[in-house]
Amino acid sequence: MKQRRKRQEKFMEERPPMSGWRRFARVFFGRKVVLFGLIVLALYVLIAIFADLIAPYDYKQINLQQVLAQPSGEHLLGTDTAGRDVLSRLIYGIRPTLIVGSATILIAAVCGTILGLIAGYFGGWIQTIIMRCIDALMGFPMLLLALVIAAVLGGGMKNIIIALGVASIPTFARVMCAQTLIIKENDYIIAGRSLGFTNWHLMWNHIVPNAFPPLVILATMNIGMVILMEAGLSFLGIGIQAPDAAWGSMVSAGYNRLTSNPMLSVAPGIAIMLIVFSLNMVGDGLRDAVDPRLRGTL
C-alpha cells in the first residue's frame, strides 16, 4: 500500500509543473513584442471609445480659413484641404477601422466555418461542390474580388464589410474543412454516432469546440490583413469616403499635396501600420501560446 502511494506520488511529480493556463500566460505575455502589441491595441480601443473626449476638434468641421495648415500648436498634424483637423480625423478613423476589421472577420469566420464544417463532415459530393467553389474564389486575388463586389454594392461601411467578408470566406472554409476531416475520424465522434447523436449535435457540440483554437488564431491574424485591404479599397476610392474619416482615403487625399503637406498622407499610414503590426504580433503570440505546432500552417 505504502509502496503504491509512493509510486502515485512519483507519478504526480512527473506531471507537467504548470497548468494549461499558466503555460499559455507565460508564453503569451513572455514576449515583449506581443506585450507591445497588446498595449497598442488596448490604447487604440480606448481612443476609439473616448474619441469624443480626446479629439481636439470636430472631425467633420470644415474651416475654410485654415485650409492646409502646417502642423502647429493649434493643429498638431495640420489640417486637410477642407480645413479639417488631421489629428481629430485620425482619432475618429480608428472606429471604422476596428469595426470593419472585426465585423468582416466575424462574417467570414461564421460563414467559412459553417461551409467548411458541412463540407468536411458530410464529404462526398457536398464537399466537392462547396470546396470547388471555394477553390474558384481562391483562384482570384482577394482585394480584386472585394473590389468587384464593392463596385456592385456601392461604397459605404456596410457594403465594404460585406465585400471583404465574402472575399475572406475561403481561408476560413479551407481551414475548417481540413480540421473537420481530421476531427471526425476520432473515436469519440464514432462513439457519439453509435450512441445515436444527431449530425447537428455532433457537429456543434463536438467538432466545432475542438476546431476552435486554430480558427480563433486565424481570425486574429487575418484582422490585420482585412484592415490593410479596407485601407486599399478606401485608397482606390471605393471604401469609406470623406467627410467620414477613414485612413485609406486620408492617405489618398493627401497624395496630391505630398510636397507641401506630407503629414496628410504620412500620419494615417503610420496609424495603419501600428495597428496591423500589433494585431499580427498578438496573433503570433496567441498561436505560439495555444499550439506551437500550428506555426507554418496558419
Binding site: 513584442v33 477553390d135 482570384f140 486575388p141 482577394m142 482585394l143 468587384v148 471605393i238 492617405v251
Partner: protein
Amino acid sequence: MITYIIKRLIQAVFILLLLTFIVYGVMRFVPGDPLLMYLGATDIQALSPEALDQARQELGLDQGILVQYFKWLGNVFQGDWGKSFHFKADVLLLISQRMPVTIYLGVLAFFFSSTIGISLGIIAAVRRGKWADTVATLAANTAITIPIFWLGIIMILIFGVSLGWLPIAGFTSPFDDFWLSTKKLIMPVICLMIGSMGSNARLTRTSMLEVIRQDYIRTAWSKGLKERVIILKHALKNSLIPVITVMGLQVRFIFGGAVLIEQVFAIPGMGRLLVDATFGKDYMVVQGCVLVIGIIVVLTNLIVDISYGWLDPRVRYD
C-alpha cells in the same frame, strides 16, 4: 505524373468556369440597365422604346444570365472577348496591351520577394537569438504590415521628390530604353514585393528552425561538414516545402497589390485597367481580366504542386 497533370488541368478548367460564372453573376447585379452603359443617357432619351428593345436584342441583353454567360464563353473561345464601351476598344486587344506590363512587374516582384525573403529567413534561423535574427525578424514583421500604396507614396516623396534619384511615375518598355525602364520600376517592384518578402522570410525562418533540429542535420554536423553546405544543401531543400506552398498563394497577393501600385505610380497595367473597368461598370473588360488573372493564378498553383515532387520525393501523384 502525366495523368496527374492532365487531371489537374481539367480541374483548373472547371475552377476557371466557376470563377468567371460567379463574377459574371455578381456583375449582373450592378444596379441600372446595362443598356444605359452601352448607349449613354442622351442616346437613350432620344430613342423610342421600340428602338431600345431592338438594341437590347442586338446586344443579347434580353436573354437570361445563363444564356448570356455561355454565349460570352463561346465567343471567348473564338477569340471574341467582347467590346469595351468605356474604352471603345476590343477587350482582347486592351488586355493584350496591358497584361505584359503587369506580368513583367509581377515576375520581378515574385523573384525578389522569393530570393530576398528566403535569404532573410535563413539568416534569421541560423543566427537564432542573435542580433541578425532580431533585425531580420523585425524587418519581416514590419514588411507584412506596411500598406503598400502608402509605402509607394512615401518612396515617391523621399526618392523621387526630395532626393530626385528616381522617376516618380509611368512605365517604359525595357525594349525601348532598358535603363530608364529599370529606374522607373525600382520603386513599384519594391512596394509590390515587400509583403510577400515578409511572409516568405517568416515562413522560411520557422520551417528552417524545425529542420535544423532534426537528426540528419546533426549527423551532417558530426561528419564535419561546413555550415554553408549543411544549411544550403541539406536543410534548405526540406525547409522550402511549406514556403513553396505559400508562394502559390503569393501570386494572388502580388496581383492584388498590382492594382494599388499601378494606381500610385500611374503604370498602365492590368490592375489599372481592372479598376477603371470596375468603376466604369464595363463588365466585358472585368470579365476578361478575371479570366486572365484566374488563368495565371491557377497555372502557377499547378506549377507549385508539381514542384513538390522535386522538393519532396515522398509526394506521390495519384
